[in-house]
Symmetry: C2
Subunit: 506 residues, 2 copies
Amino acid sequence: MLEKIDLSVKVEKAVYKKAMAEMEEKLGVLQRSCKEAGIPVMILFDGMGAAGKGTQINRLIQVMDPRGFSVYASNRPTEEEQYRPFLWSYWTKTPAKGRIAIFDRSWYRRVQVDRFEGLTADQELPHAFQDIASFEKQLSDGGTVIIKLFLHISKEEQKKRFKKLAASKETAWRVSDSDWIRNKEYERYLRINEEMLEQTDTEYAPWTIIEATDKNYAAMKIMSTVTSRLEYELEKKKEEKTAEKGQKKKTAPSDKYKNGVLSGVDLSKHLTPSKYKKELDELQKRIEILHSEIYRLRIPVVIGFEGWDAGGKGGAIRRLTSRLDPRGYQVNPTASPNDIEKVHHYLWRFWNNVPKAGHIAIFDRTWYGRVMVERIEGFCTEAEWKRAYQEINEMEAHMANAGAVVLKFWLHIDKDEQERRFKERMENPAKQWKITDEDWRNREKWDLYEEAVNEMLVRTSTTYAPWIVVEGNDKCYARVKVVRTVVEALEAKIKEVKKAQKSKDA
Amino acid sequence: MLEKIDLSVKVEKAVYKKAMAEMEEKLGVLQRSCKEAGIPVMILFDGMGAAGKGTQINRLIQVMDPRGFSVYASNRPTEEEQYRPFLWSYWTKTPAKGRIAIFDRSWYRRVQVDRFEGLTADQELPHAFQDIASFEKQLSDGGTVIIKLFLHISKEEQKKRFKKLAASKETAWRVSDSDWIRNKEYERYLRINEEMLEQTDTEYAPWTIIEATDKNYAAMKIMSTVTSRLEYELEKKKEEKTAEKGQKKKTAPSDKYKNGVLSGVDLSKHLTPSKYKKELDELQKRIEILHSEIYRLRIPVVIGFEGWDAGGKGGAIRRLTSRLDPRGYQVNPTASPNDIEKVHHYLWRFWNNVPKAGHIAIFDRTWYGRVMVERIEGFCTEAEWKRAYQEINEMEAHMANAGAVVLKFWLHIDKDEQERRFKERMENPAKQWKITDEDWRNREKWDLYEEAVNEMLVRTSTTYAPWIVVEGNDKCYARVKVVRTVVEALEAKIKEVKKAQKSKDA
């Protein structure tokens, strides 16, 4: 979820001031309403070091009635805590009805910092995640509202901030050796955080990722997240009370400041034709050899292709498969579901096409239709597509756990490039079949799709089944990136499998 | 869940015939209605070997329209299956809308037989359970009705059946060597099955345990479970359609043939006063030593007492604690929640009294009030007490995972004995404070409590936090059983901890 997010977002001071003034007033009212309604609220701040958790907690509580909240900082466990079950200290801090508890770091420590430092063993992880899930589910079922914020900054930004803190006598103590280690090993720490978010992003206690490079933007997004969630919960509570007389549908909390992924993609990337030829040729030779190796090692491979219409999926798939042994791979095109598919679970048809170990299954359009076209065209309910992110993650996790390489490509082009390609298709008799009225209609919904795609990329790019956004304005660059990504993923997996076999033999 | 169930239940032939005839007719109608309503149904048969799965599947399908169902037997995985993710073969067999799929054993193999035979490694278990949970949740969310039946017989009954099968030429092939091994190691296999049920008994796909000693009783209970569940789901679907105009509350599927636990308890057990004195004295000496040992080893101990009014909780607790160092244990009486407790989650006050490692926390009445008095008196909603079984199991699992010994005693007496004790208390001035009008009022609800207690004992007696039903008509017998159980549990835990320390040091 973290890796892909465009961290460069910022806000102008005037806009920030106006928006904050409005929201701050609102928050005061909301806090009182929650107190009256007896709703307990937990707000959890987590994130990268030096992302500004302390500052942001301060900004948030400035506008709240101090008699209504408590702030808890989580440090190394005390002796009292060490001698009790892990969740004990958090259970004792759960807020009473109408109160707000704010946590600076929290019960996530065990699957995050402690894991990074080797204090949490790998075999303890499943239990630790289950404990978190049941803790949050029980509280949420009991009426507690849980808001989880993850403040995110890049490695470079973090380094800059650490250096600045270290340079001043007053603040140098705030940067510890372990902070520097986490910056040095940022990628490993990021991966641990990614997994934490993957495992604990639930319907009842979702994470919100706060782009924290610009502190004002972060403050605004935090304030917006908190106020809109409280508004939603108050509304829900009211509706539950009046549910007897004609139920109204709950509207999900409005999510004004969404995470952007596509906004950060550099579409100017390109490759000269001669370089393209050379690189592609070399990569295709490598993949041919790798293909027989994954067959011998019985590694299943699942590759999904999604992207804008005319984004270049077909061309990329052809370059990927042109030298493969046709007995070892299959391309599954995904059209609208047929009659038999319609009377089954929406994932059923994809399960039917799961590759045998040692084979490659390529999907031209995929199960992600659920959270794109089905979402936008209303072919499924809101509850259904919202649930689908987790369902899809679970399916992909199951495949990855069974030893599969799972990759998903989003072929990205901009709106102008799409228009150019559409027109070219219309003018070229050999390509006219490729363009329909529906393509033009979909194009009109570009913004809706962009929103859906951004959400999809954030919520379903996982450590075990990553999304690869392919800069597609230049076809040569895009095709080489696709084939190279597959080659490198296969090589990494083969290495891993061989290593595991060796240590087994030894 | 399994261990405590009274397996001696049976039904008279005439009753059976009449009930079955009615239900069979109903099932035919229900099958057609499910087809019309487009509801996919999965019925899963699992259980002990020779419990009669095959026979029962046959009885069930006799009355169904054969065009509407498929039966799948699960054997060793085929090559096609071996080369694909575990759930693949079950996903491909999920029924279309309106169809019924019946499974003879199933996706539980991996956490059951395979685990027993060492084919599933311990570290794979959390993943395997998660896969099952997400598989069943996804299907259930998609509208599939999942009915899971566990056919249970005792070790002796199984042995008898195996012998009978083995004695005849026609049936001898049906008893394999592994069947005999599972009978010989029945306790270990039972424990594995207990864990499987604990981990996978969910709101959306609950298990029903079928007492299968009497085949007619089993057939009747299966038929009743299937028909009442289908009726419930059809009703639910209808209600969802008409939800727009004034919502009616769904009524849970009626559960006519419940599991009995208390019915199987032998209340004639007793001890002579002289034996009682001797045994108690010896046990108390042992527990004194164990108490200091658990302190040194930092083992936390949680002991809960529940039981009928005048069941002897107080007396048992006194015998348990009389020789303990008061600095190392605490007795927490549980009364109605006070004002501060009322504005928190119902488990909060018990979390606050979690013992420090090395200490013993004794609860006189416990968190089980949620599923007894709160359930019966309507102090919480039906949804709340139904959810509580899982919440409580999760809390106890968390403590057990943190190294705690968790024991729960149900002090059982019969209604006559209670009356005798009540009267004695009224007549004895020194004991009059112990008896109130409320006790007499509760007594009138004996049957409701018995039902709630049976359900509680089945659903929350776990491998990590077992219920011990104490035969309490004879106080001497009861007290010795309580103290002995604690002594043995502490000894076992100390042994386990020392062994773990040794292997760590080595």
